[in-house]
Symmetry: C2
Subunit: 705 residues, 2 copies
């Protein structure tokens, strides 16, 4: 399926409404009313076997009897009549169908069966089906309204740069309402409901490629097709379109119990976080944040760097804003000296660093604020400027000159982001917003939004430099028995350093192995039947001499024979121990939607107790691996805290990148990899996988792409 197969859904030239009602308040009547109100220029064919015309438009008894091409059919029928109608549409070569009806998979097995039938029709005919249980689509520019959403009853949406894609109809119409309330236009709007065929990922891909769309707002509950979702996000990023998204389910991530395998240490939500971060999506925590950022993207520009000037009428508001800017990673650099002097010459008591505190003087002289904003932009070079105006725009004698100077300054500095924070009656706020300036009553929200826009700017700039990562590794075929020894061999061939170890059958061989290693060794039983080696005395650590290795191996084999009498024994693994370095845990697991994901954390309590873990979709390069390492809270431990030498971060990053490439090239055979510990030695000394586990897919056919 390509994105263009949604053309008929987003921009049909002819629309049939099956179940059309003459009552414009009913579900089957509302789309007709909206289409007429919107001035839709395409053909409209109401289908109603009982009437000659519906809402003044000639009606047809069924879709088969329409003698013209039908791009799109809207089905406003009860669920039990919908399958029949869909079949008729497919027979008539309709390109796409919107199915409003509820009563399918969401209500029980009978509905699910009907839904499967619809899916089969769509698959066989190539006709795209949106829904069921959805609120449909609209395209403001065309005046096309394939929806019965109540939210557009009172007033039609305005055209504009924002597109909305939502899995939930109610959330989609809620978001549409909020944007219209803020007078930010929406050009495309789609809700996907039960997703029998068209998925939100495909809609996002279409919107990412649609030239009129400048900003994408998305509400997502669960993604079915990870690959399309990622294609859509990559396309939006390549086209410099900010994507602001609510992905529900964040809190359940924390509830997962700790477990021994890395796959169980992660909630699905962490993977979404990793995907959204990687593709530069802003994941909003609330509808308010989503709407604030989307509106600012629509009105503002994406600043070129993190510098922010804070202009304030009050020291107190300024301190809070500087706090918030620091918290959000913005650069509150001081105003350059010539600018400070200019401010001082206007207001002798002003704070001239940053915040630039022009004090209550601003309420004595109406043009002062505009002149100081000018100085901040001209001499400060700030890419973003937030003006904390308290309540003074409420008075027209202040609002007028401030707005006039802002409009003039924006013409002179078109690439700067100017954001206002003030409280005033709605009509005053509207004047500034309609002139194109984002206005916030809450200055924290203003600064959070600026940081989000800066983030988009940075990520869009970074993507031009990043080269795609070639998959360098050819897949290895996995041996039948994947014990520790075999796993380490496989990883070694994949470029992950391991220390040479020896699988031995008896004490004498262990003695020779220990002599060859010439350092303290660990002895571990290797058996496909023994999962918990330590509990049956199958592990001995810190064995210092070849003689001890022989003695301990003999004893170990005896213990194991007694305590696990039936177990097949591959031998005893003799491996070198490292007395220094920092223990890390590196692993990969297979996300059911997005495929292989690499995780990283520090050993000991960090992963299991503190849940201090970073994730990244495989594969990735060493610079992404370094960024990943920097994301854990405990990353300072690798920089040489408390007198310890700094760790070999380059070696760790290389190993993580190699692991990611291995996981990616083995996505069809390997389900999970657990390297625990990977010991990171001091800078220049490398790092080594000391123990490893590779879990193959139990059913290789079912692995995600």
């Amino acid at each position: 399926m390509t994105a263009s197969s949604l053309d008929a859904l987003f921009a049909p030239s002819s629309v049939a409404v099956i179940g059309a009602s003459d009552d414009p308040a009913r579900i089957g009547g509302r789309p007709l009313r909206y289409l007429q109100r919107g001035g839709f220029a395409g053909a409209v064919y109401p289908i109603n076997p009982n009437r000659d015309s519906v809402q003044g438009i000639k009606a047809w008894p069924d879709v088969a009897s329409i003698p013209f091409t039908v791009d799109l059919a809207i089905i406003a029928l009860p669920a039990d009549q919908a399958v029949q109608a869909i079949r008729a549409c497919a027979a008539r070569s309709v390109k796409a169908v919107i199915l409003f009806s509820a009563g399918f998979a969401e209500v029980g097995p009978e509905g699910a069966a009907m839904q499967r039938e619809i899916a089969a029709i769509a698959r066989q005919s190539g006709m795209r089906v949106l829904g069921p249980n959805c609120l449909g689509v609209f395209n403001t520019r065309l005046g096309f309204y394939g929806t019965f959403a109540q939210a557009f009853d009172a007033a039609a949406p305005q055209d504009g740069p924002v597109a909305i894609a939502s899995q939930s109809g109610a959330c989609g119409s809620h978001l549409g309402y909020l944007l219209r309330q803020r007078r930010v236009g929406v050009n495309y709007w789609i809700t996907t409901g039960n997703e029998v065929d068209v998925e939100v990922s495909e809609a996002l891909l279409w919107l990412a490629q649609a030239p009129q769309v400048k900003v994408i707002v998305a509400y997502v509950e669960a993604i079915r097709e990870g690959a399309t979702f990622i294609r859509a996000l990559a396309a939006a990023r390549a086209n410099r379109k900010p994507v602001v998204m609510i992905k529900v389910g964040r809190s359940s991530a924390g509830a997962l119990a700790a477990a021994s395998h890395t796959g169980a240490l992660v909630g699905q939500d962490d993977v979404y976080d990793a995907v959204l971060r990687e593709y530069g999506v802003h994941r909003a925590d609330s509808i308010a944040e989503l709407v604030e950022i989307a509106c600012a993207c629509a009105r503002g520009v994406l600043p070129a760097d993190r510098s922010i000037g804070i202009l304030t009428l009050s020291g107190g508001l300024g301190v809070q804003a500087a706090d918030a800017a620091e918290r959000n990673g913005l650069d509150v650099r001081p105003l350059a000296a010539p600018g400070q002097a200019k401010i001082k010459s206007l207001i002798s008591f002003a704070g001239t660093g940053n915040p630039i505190d022009i004090t209550a003087q601003a309420t004595n002289e109406a043009t002062l604020t505009g002149r100081c904003i000018d100085i901040a932009l001209t001499d400060g070079g700030y890419q973003s400027l937030v003006c904390l105006l308290s309540t003074i725009p409420a008075a027209p004698r202040f609002a007028d000159p401030i707005l006039a100077s802002l409009v003039e300054l924006r013409a002179r500095f078109p690439d700067r982001l100017i954001v206002l924070a003030f409280a005033s009656p709605p009509e005053v706020v509207q004047r500034f917003e309609d002139a194109g300036f984002p206005v916030f009553e809450d200055q924290d929200a203003a600064i959070r939004t600026i940081a989000a826009l800066v983030g988009f700017g940075e990520r869009f700039a970074a993507v031009r430099q990043a080269a795609p990562l070639p998959l360098a590794q050819a897949p290895q075929s996995l041996p039948a028995v994947l014990d520790e020894h075999a796993a380490k061999g496989i990883l070694a061939r994949a470029g992950i350093p391991v220390l040479q170890d020896y699988l031995v059958a008896d004490g004498a061989a262990a003695r020779r192995a220990a002599a060859a290693i010439d350092a303290a060794v660990a002895l571990k039983i290797v058996s496909p039947d023994i999962a918990h080696k330590t509990e049956i005395g199958g592990v001995v650590l810190g064995v210092r001499t070849p003689e001890a290795a022989e003695r301990e191996t003999t004893a170990l084999l005896q213990r194991v024979a007694q305590r696990a009498p039936g177990a097949r024994i591959s031998g005893v693994l003799v491996s070198p121990m490292l007395s220094h370095g920092v223990e890390a845990i590196c692993g990969s697991f297979t996300d059911p939607v997005f495929g292989p994901v690499v995780m990283f954390g520090l050993g000991g309590i960090h992963v299991e107790v503190m849940r201090d873990v970073a994730h990244q979709l495989a594969p990735f390069g060493e610079s992404e691996a370094l960024a990943m390492i920097g994301r854990i809270r405990g990353h300072k431990l690798l920089q040489g805290m408390r007198g310890a030498p700094p760790s070999d971060l380059a070696a760790l990053a290389r190993a993580l990148s190699q692991l990611s490439q291995f996981a990616a090239s083995h996505r069809n055979t390997v389900a999970e990899i657990d390297i625990n510990p990977f010991v990171v030695l001091p800078q220049g000394q490398g790092g080594y996988a000391l123990d490893a586990l590779i879990v193959p897919h139990s059913n290789p056919q079912e692995t995600p792409k």
Copy 2:
């Protein structure tokens, strides 16, 4: 100073305005206009030597010539004339003065000198002085406006249950404006500016005791008098008045570099956090959050427990709300079975657990929403209920029946908190708010606010049970030399368990000490001149036999003599080592505002790298100590993770409580205590301070109370 000394400031019966202007737009004219507009019933005496009347009121040439009592004088003069005016007021026995003028300590040494002069006059006369550099006071009920704040130009404040106290004038008037915009009344409002005499803490204390005040909103930059601040917060809590506060400076806390002493490990901000948490204040992160919670406190009730019902028109909105409720620690318990059945009987496809999803059916039948809210309250027993109504109240045919049923239900369930989340035109929102229901456009904000109100409810209930903690310990006098041995002795007498150690002079004595200890020992040089023992080879750990102790002690003394030739040597400390248990760090330090504060964290990386630390004002009891232990992120490590036995939390809590009592009773002599490590043994085995440092105050006179 008692709170009642502010009576003349908040509720004067006669007011002189020094520097009164006939122009009602000027600083000296605005208070007169506001007083007349507000219908102030007390006497008003404009002072203006050049006019017989000002704004129609008889004027006087100076304050001395007024033949009547003057409770309060407002001074609207330039800074250089203010001192003289203040002196005249004191001579005339004026009870309180409001000094608007800027140009004092905030502009330089000359201004600071004038400010000191004013402070001296206030101290000598007992006349209270508010300001300088402040926006003054108002009392809505009396119509008393001792302010020139521009924010009240367009409309006078409404009376109501909220009081506002702010150190910043601009923030105070901004907050006043926002509350009026939301039609929430403010009865008292005060801004304290440079605080030459009246501090925001005293204002808070007065407001905490004023019967009309139900909710206190505060904006604080820095507290000068910790004791008064705490008295104020305790009084508010005792009187069940929610305090919602912005305390600026949160982000700078994280910037403090790690250091070896506990005192340096804390930002002042952590202490504020500890104080505000202890006294049940809600610390808001933004003005938006502050205003939301204050308005909800003014309109709503404080729920009796954490149970919340979520009623929604949309599954998507419901999932997000359930996420948010979980994140905020609310209890999203399912609706009881009879209630579920009733909902099902109304809407067959409804989600009946919790969220209660009444689906888009609600848009087909206007009374359905109200009936379902009734079932949720009646059968759910939820103490809080949030109704996610999307945009449907925008249509009057829905708004009317929903509002009618809400009003009826509130009468039946007066102790339940009912909060609404929907988007609609302002006039619709206003109807619901004016009927007393908090309305939020953003449901996350709604739930955050409910959680804040539940928090107040819980803390007000808890305070009735908590008995004040008697200070059981009599202060010990500190020895001249406070080395490790002495410090451990002092702490042992304070009830903190230490292991018996021995200070010895030579190898032979060390041998006898090690034999007496009969376990592995540590050897440490003790010298008032050696701060970094390890670096000069002054520490040997893990010495296993008495013979080794003798040998190592002799060698240690030789090394120290070579490497630190001039140092005075008290001896070598022979102390037992513990091979198991969890290492903690317990300490206390002296906050310049709030006095002794106890800190707690786990040893190793937890405090220094992860900054995982809890704080509590000293003194406190064992239950507070347990809560403090639970606040660190790594507290699970004490519960027996990874096969380790659970730690003796009771012993740790006892030690922390004893430490807090010691720190409190020695506040005049001890600046800092550092117990590192305090080893917590498995349950039932106790815990021991293995090393300790006590730092006395360098200047005992300057210690805070």
